[in-house]
Symmetry: C2
Subunit: 161 residues, 2 copies
Amino acid sequence: MAQRPDPVAPADDAARAQARALLALPHAALAFRDPEEGSPGISRIAFGLGHDGQMLTLISALAVHHAALRADPACALLLGEPGPKGDPLIHPRLMIRATAGFVTDPDDRSSLRAAWLTTHPKARLYIDFADFAFVRFTPVSLLLNGGFGKAFRLMPGDLSQ
Amino acid sequence: MAQRPDPVAPADDAARAQARALLALPHAALAFRDPEEGSPGISRIAFGLGHDGQMLTLISALAVHHAALRADPACALLLGEPGPKGDPLIHPRLMIRATAGFVTDPDDRSSLRAAWLTTHPKARLYIDFADFAFVRFTPVSLLLNGGFGKAFRLMPGDLSQ
């Protein structure tokens, strides 16, 4: 069988800038594995960047994905939303394969808490509840889709300013 | 250890109506398993309902999730988007665990094509490309999250009008 052309291009400066802009969004979709069945699960999560651009979320122990990420840290994030007009698939979005790590150190948490509230002020209502924990995502690989025929592969180092 | 109260309630009429409203959205996030590594993957997809309320997407063979769903039909969908205001987690969203089936019968495809174009008119640009296929999602279970403390479990039968 003939080799198909790779539809994904290496990142260029415009792709890197677009990816960084998507990382400023305050929420994401999270894909994970169900801890019991192993089948795919999905949730909406809050999303933010901490110091040094580290990717973060703040999640409740009541959320389905909390137990899932505790059992299996492999996950994927989708950032970017279609606007109300046009084909939803022409709007840019960023897919990130990552591993999730729960933040347990109190000083670490305290520093993340301050950074989080600057971008998610409404989280003040629940950020100090005992069942809420910060999770840091370490990106493994990234795919930017800027619309039909505009897919780019990024490496974690591409996200540095 | 004391049993925690179940944070998810059985569906009521309001939850069923909200779920049906979310199913009218033209796009979704799709969680799947990477065909090589088994790790979670995520993509934006077009979404629509066919005859009898069946859940559908139209995907290109170039998309990452095409090969993934061919290899493993277990997947999950997220419908619903935060608006620009307020905490993104107060906006309603529907999580659907499903199995994906590719539509191969030409008559079936022809009928789905007509229905799809009424809700996704811009798909006319590519719907007849040889690498585009319809995929039908059969729901296994549904979770509606209408905001903090407002989670409901739905069964596929709850979606009938």
